[in-house]
């Protein structure tokens, strides 16, 4: 219980400090910090409209965060989620070119599966390069992300381009029946449910199943894994594949629910933000859910800050940057034993006493 309290208290303090710092920052621009805080809250969680905006942004963040979190539990630092997302979206948008899909739930599922397969292949490639060629996965996944974005642009502006998209190259829009709609008539699409379910299921998988535990052993102590004969390479590839599939589904959902086709606005940095969400959730898939909602909220509040107070739209980037930096830095304070630190500030004469416990 105390442990859990400490787990939550540190990030909460860090976010409070970031908000304070941001208040001072906008104060220099001649804006009242109090007003900024109120509007930030209103824009993110104030009413149903802001909640919809927040949750809509949180959905892809959850999935791209899983693309970091699951491989991280197997001991890999993957930072190429952006590439898996982009290719997932491309695969989903390209599937109707190749296959006549039924315009119903089956077709939508097929789009998501296409996205998942593309994303899984891309991240599993980074895992394969590490296990079988000895290439660091952080670097290779970053390179693969750039290659994926190049491929995406090449195909979207080339063979897959819809001739009707003049100014902004895009693929043909998917059929109406294939799109993912809102939940109960709201703007929040079913991608949020996919994201939350993916987080919960992968959390359960890592925590409660034998294969999930094996993945954690491989990540926690490769020597032990080798000693007990776990198939490390297979498990690492599986973790990468599952993580990549999540990011690929994020791309497919963005295409099916938001853009209706694949265009350059798919490359919106969700992959990079997902890295930070995962690190802040300490690679715990269940903790990814609240962190993603929080940072979705920051993003949603940005436009309100711009409209109401005339602050530049980049101000929310500054706030996010501050929050990320401070939360990551607070990791460094985790191991400090505050109680002894405070006690030792005032040196006191210690009276040796003989009690029953002391013996």
């Amino acid at each position: 219980m105390r442990h859990a309290l400490k787990e939550i208290a540190l990030p909460v303090f860090a976010i409070a400090a970031a908000l304070l710092l941001f208040g001072i920052f906008v104060w220099f621009a001649g804006v009242s910090p109090l007003e900024v805080w109120v509007i930030l809250f209103k824009g993110a969680f104030g009413d149903w409209f802001s909640w919809q905006n927040t949750l809509q942004r949180a959905a892809p963040l959850m999935l791209t965060a899983l693309c970091v979190a699951i491989p991280a539990r197997a001991g890999l630092v993957i930072i190429g989620g952006e590439g898996a997302l982009v290719l997932g979206g491309l695969a989903a948008a390209a599937l109707p070119y190749a296959l006549p899909l039924p315009a119903n739930l089956v077709g939508t599922l097929a789009l998501c599966v296409a996205g998942a397969v593309a994303g899984a292949a891309w991240i599993a490639l980074a895992g394969w390069l590490r296990q079988y060629r000895g290439i660091n996965e952080t670097i290779s996944s970053l390179l693969l992300a750039y290659i994926a974005i190049g491929l995406f642009k090449h195909l979207v502006e080339g063979v897959l381009r819809d001739p009707a998209s003049l100014n902004k190259p895009a693929t043909r829009s998917i059929a109406d029946g294939l799109g993912i709609g809102g939940i109960g008539g709201s703007d929040v699409h079913w991608g949020l449910v996919i994201g939350i379910v993916a987080c919960l299921v992968s959390g359960l998988w890592l925590r409660a199943t034998a294969s999930g535990f094996s993945v954690r052993v491989v990540g926690g102590n490769p020597r032990t894994a080798q000693l007990v004969g776990l198939p490390a390479s297979g498990l690492i590839l599986a973790a990468c594949g599952i993580g990549g599939a999540c990011a690929g589904v994020a791309g497919a959902v963005e295409v099916a629910a938001v853009h209706t086709n694949a265009n350059a606005s798919l490359i919106a940095g969700y992959g990079y933000a997902g890295i930070l969400v995962s690190f802040i959730a300490r690679h715990n898939p269940v903790a990814v859910i609240p962190v993603a909602i929080l940072f979705g909220g920051f993003g949603a509040a940005g436009s309100l800050l711009q409209r109401r107070l005339g602050l530049p739209d980049a101000s929310v980037l500054v706030l996010q940057g501050m929050a990320f930096v401070l939360i990551l830095a607070s990791e460094g304070l985790r191991m400090i034993d505050w109680k002894t630190l405070l006690k030792n500030r005032m040196p006191r004469a210690v009276q040796p006493r003989m009690t029953k416990e002391a013996t």
């Binding site: 000895g134 290439i135 970053l142 190049g150 930070l276 980049a314 500054v318 940057g321 990320f324 990551l328």
Partner: protein, 306 residues
């Protein structure tokens, strides 16, 4: 294709390599210095964008492009100093901190740079390398950024410094064995913070060359990921400052193939040519890495090569 088109293509690629390669050269030298000390700085993307803004603003306010360059470098050094300090804390991951600083640096630059989108700042002078030729295409393509010689001198200086000076040896020692550094009574964290900060200053010069020479204005799309890809460049150069020059020219040249082809009317494969450097880096990694061993020439303490 006619002879004129061929000349235009070659001049475009060579000129582009020198123009586009300049920021690559500085970020790769900055990252090289940082990584030699045993730390990776993915936040150089933030450093690059922030220093690009600061250099442009400095040049605009002071009226001197060279003062702008200094201000850009200083801004880059400050952000890198923050990275160095944060990473010295226990249990703070340098990859994640780098990405957080990338967000913070670009956010700060966009926020503070809003009033700089309209004005024109004094630009750095160009060195006309193409004066020997009568061909106007070559003459205009070979207008070289005056920071390029600075960068080349810096690369040679770093190479000499790593090999011959006490400070260079200390940086390399912090990168190769933290225990040896401690045993000799030096502070590992202090050395790494110093190297990261200096690396940030060098990368900041790259930002300055973006806004003060090519493309020569401040906007929010000024960097196309040069800072992030510095990590790949350094691997490509196998942690040698001298090889960084070649790597930067190659990356710049590969980035210039697309626009050069477009200028003579070939539009196909523009984005594919842009990915050539990344594919090339990956291929080199595949060829040089072996499972169970670290990359050749890499600092032993580097988290990204183990």
């Amino acid at each position: 294709m006619t002879a004129d088109q061929w000349i235009a293509l070659v001049a475009g690629i060579v000129g582009g390599a020198l123009r586009v390669g300049a920021p690559f050269l500085f970020v790769s030298l900055g990252e090289c210095l940082t990584e030699k000390s045993g730390r990776i700085n993915l936040g150089l993307e933030g450093v690059l964008v922030l220093s690009a803004m600061a250099a442009f603003g400095g040049s605009w306010l002071t009226g001197s492009a060279w003062l702008g360059v200094l201000i850009g470098g200083a801004a880059g050094a400050l952000l890198a100093l923050l990275h160095g300090l944060l990473c010295s804390l226990d249990r703070v991951n340098d990859v994640a901190t780098g990405i957080a600083l990338m967000l913070f640096g670009t956010g700060l630059a966009f926020y503070l740079g809003k009033p700089l989108i309209q004005p024109q700042a004094p630009q750095l002078p160009a060195i006309p390398l193409g004066d020997w030729s009568d061909n106007p295409v070559i003459r205009s393509a070979l207008q070289v950024n005056s920071l390029v010689p600075v960068g080349i001198a810096l690369a040679v200086f770093l190479w000499w410094g790593f090999a011959r000076t006490r400070a260079g040896l200390l940086v390399r020692m912090a990168g190769d064995s933290a225990n040896a550094t401690r045993a000799l009574g030096y502070s590992v964290a202090g050395l790494r913070i110093a190297a990261t900060t200096a690396g940030g200053f060098i990368a900041g010069l790259g930002g300055a060359s973006l806004t003060l020479f090519y493309p020569g204005s401040w906007n929010e799309g000024i960097s196309s990921g040069q800072g992030l890809i510095a990590v790949a460049l350094v691997i490509f150069a196998r942690w040698s400052p001298l090889r960084c020059i070649g790597a930067a020219l190659l990356f710049g040249g590969a980035g210039a193939i697309g626009p050069a082809l477009q200028s003579i009317g070939v539009g196909w494969g523009y984005h594919l040519f842009n990915t050539v450097p990344y594919v090339l880096t990956l291929v080199i990694l595949v060829l040089t890495c072996k499972p169970g061993s670290v990359a050749v020439g890499s600092p032993g303490e580097l988290s990204s090569t183990r």
